[in-house]
Symmetry: C5
Subunit: 256 residues, 5 copies
């Protein structure tokens, strides 16, 4: 679970509710037509822009973004170095017993090909294709979230315009402008809040996760290929350490 | 027919009309000069920007975007594997009987060249040229829709300014501002709605269709070239499966 | 002459004048200081941004954009196929008699080099250099029009601010705001109209023309080089048809 | 001296002052706090963004942009053709006497290396490095001017907000809004004017100068290298003419 | 310490406070809910967008940006020339005594590899990898600052909307609008100020530092590799001088 995302959302909600209560009353901002137009309009535009499958997949994308848990690179190196040692000592088939302990589907697929005795080049090609496919899937998720983030303020404006036109056309005296304007501006508030606190930052986080996950997969690919070539645990460690910073590299040395 | 597009438009219209009726009266928003300036101005600017042919072609582009029906990639693979089997068993000429059953013009062209006995390289070259041409035609459609989407709010502003200037210059007392402002803001409403509910999302959908269709055509190209080389149905399937995700690949295996 | 551009401008002007007359009075919008600040300011900024030569050249660029007449690609192919036939039958010198009938300077230059007996490589190099030079000249024209289009609304805002500050500082009561505001907003109106109806779409059209003209010149280059190599009319046609769509290709076959 | 820049600034100032005087009174716009916040804030942000050296260099960059005088390419070709003739007739050392007559430091450096008898490849490498360095220096100047242009309206908004908050919090009745608003909007006026009449167009001009100067230097490099290879004046002219348009090429032929 | 950054911030604060005091009263702008919503909202969005580690690292990034002290390139060249002389005279091991005097971790690492007798290619590869890693770390810092800069005005708008809605819904007469509006606009003020005086310029400065530091590291890499090849002090100087401008090069010649 990504602590920063959860903390950020909680902290943001507290700040917003606190400010609203300090200045007025949260009841003012609970406005059904405002929700309908901002979130309904955004949903409609997102359905028109993307396909049904992409649209329905957005919830699983958001859930993954919130619950995403990256394995630290040092841990990845530690594991692959162990597998290299097992491979050297007992042969590739001995790795079969390790597979049930692994959760990461990508690492399982790599080791399975290694156990099946496929040659290094076809292992590398298949694993790199998976990395590329994941990247495209993630970039689609980010694209949808960014579109939702840019769509919210637009429909908020549409909602505010509906409110203003209705209010202005039926008001009797300028004294009523204030109250009607307040209601109309609630739409703009929700559009700005949803875009800037939820959709745009979540899209950014998905981009960060995508980078991290791509790095992990590239490290696993490098490790599996090195094991497939029968290289020593030390050589496997060195090939995987290229991907991490000098400072973290020392920590890894201590662990193995 | 693309369900998401149709559902999105219907849902969006319901949300907008519902909100308008809840807050006021839809009659307020039916305003001929507002329609004239937003859609007339946008049409004029689009004609100046693009050529007559491109401008008139926009309706068929929108129709195609709404009615577009992609053949699922597994279906494409299944067909091409069958053609490979026929080609192996009875020779390329036996494929002649299959052609009347195919609807996709691109697949027909590829198979026809195969039956005509053209060499693999010239088949690949011609088919890739078609893919590139389609991409350019689609990107032109997306460019027109995006221009329309950015033009609508601009002419909406022009319309609102005309309304404001007219209203302000003939009003007698500030009490009249409200009603006049309501009429002027209806232009801004239509500009924002047309851009964000119709033109920008349709442009985005066209971009999605373009990607899907390009992928299909690349898969067909890979398949036809493999058949032209006389490869086995299994080899044809493997070459086409490279383009789809691991999860879908398994489904295909089951079908063939 | 480009019909769409002319029709678009006429249609746009009718829509704008119609709406203005319906809502108020066109006299309100004829405002000398507004013209001075929007078009004067834009002219000044354009002079500062570009060189004197580029600035003065903008009128010929606009004129060309309005009067541009592209030769249809089928016509180009038909002519070059004829020249190939003449070249085969009577030799390159016989093409000399065709030159006075040609209007396109680029085609004349190409044929002249062919008649002069220059080798294929130097003909291709020189013609490609011309294409590149034309592209840069066109992209400069588009850059100037786009700068003008982004400059108009900025100076419109400057003008509206001048009007507002002057009006607000001398008004006696809030009842006068309306009339003064109307005058100030006329600037914003002209800036938005000039940018969105004239400069930005014209810049877009210039970009379209540039693409079309580049394609024509590339087709002529391909044709002249094929003739210079002494290829047959059929080979010349095939080399030039690569640049046009499959649908149009059939029409050409029928004509030749 | 660049006539268009000077004329543009003068014309722009006349248009602005004329409109102000026609609508009100220039005294309204002379407002010390507005100048302080727009130009002070912009200066502060520019110092934070760039280094001290880059910040102080901006005045010499602006001066150069105003006083920049490009040598026409035909003149460059004429000179280099003369040097080629001298080199052929009297040897490279005879060029020593020409150097005191040259003002352009880049041409002097090129000829000096030629006189020193350095080989063609090291001359070309050094001259190309200079071109690249100049480009980076110019692009830094453009970057600073563009940042200033985008910073001005932002601090203008900050200034207007300070004015509005102060005015609104101490006003007794809505009748005073007008006068206070006028003062606050003067900030926005100066920000929009400085950005759109001065900084953004000057940044654009610097970009144009950079292109022109780069072309000149590339022509000189081509010329010096051709002379260093001992090529004939005609060959030198042809190698340098590649960089200019066909129309100008004929003029050059007439002069030499 | 970067003088321009410090001076810019001090100067900017003086200008802002001076203008506020001249026009009103700084007390008006000290508003706890405004700070809460602008800086709290921005912090929440930044936590959602980036990971916990990246978020906490932003303070050390800002500190480094303020305190960053680049070693002048001439100084770098002088040192490396000395090391080259020592290497030639007494061998690589004699450089061991120089290392404690060096502060720059990157130069130490380079020399250490040289002393350890690693071959030129692996030294270059490792040093270039470090350069690339630093660039990515810096670009992440710039990305966070730019996101904070774009997030501030968005939450300022949210805060202003909260203030407006609360104020408008409880006001009794239009005379109260002024005071309430003043409070609401304070949010917009802080958002615009924080973005344009602090976050966006600091992000820009980080980009400048990154460029400078990358250049230094590339110069050190070139120098260490030249020393590792056993080249003469003169050759080392020439290889490193390629990275600096002609004007500075002469100064270096005088010093060595």
């Amino acid at each position: 679970m990504d602590i920063a995302t959860i903390l950020g959302i909680i902290f943001g909600v507290i700040v917003i509710i606190g400010t609203i209560q300090y200045e007025g009353n949260i009841g003012l901002f609970i406005n059904i037509p405002a929700f309908a137009i901002v979130f309904g309009g955004m949903t409609a535009a997102t359905m028109i822009h993307f396909s049904m499958g992409q649209f329905l997949g957005i919830f699983s994308v958001i859930k993954k973004t919130l619950l995403h848990k990256a394995v630290p690179p040092q841990e990845l190196i530690r594991r692959m170095v162990n597998y290299a040692a097992i491979n050297r000592r007992d042969g590739a088939l001995a790795l079969e017993q390790e597979i049930p302990k692994i959760k990461d589907g990508f690492m399982i697929k790599g080791l399975q090909m290694l156990i099946d005795g496929q040659d290094v080049e076809s292992i590398r090609e298949l694993m790199e294709m998976e990395v590329q496919y994941l990247e495209e899937r993630h970039s689609m998720g980010k694209k949808i979230l960014d579109f939702m983030g840019s769509s919210c303020p637009s429909f908020a404006m549409v909602g505010t315009l509906i409110g203003l036109v209705s209010m202005l056309s039926k008001m009797e005296s300028p004294d009523e402008v204030g109250r009607g304007m307040a209601v109309a501006l609630v739409c703009t508030f929700w559009g700005a809040l949803a875009a800037n606190l939820i959709f745009l930052p979540l899209g950014g986080k998905l981009g960060q996760h995508s980078k991290t996950e791509k790095l992990s997969m590239e490290m696993i690919t490098a490790g599996v290929c090195a094991i497939a070539k029968g290289e020593s645990p030390t050589a496997v460690r060195e090939k995987m350490q290229i991907f991490i910073s000098a400072k973290r590299r020392e920590e890894v040395k201590a662990q193995v």
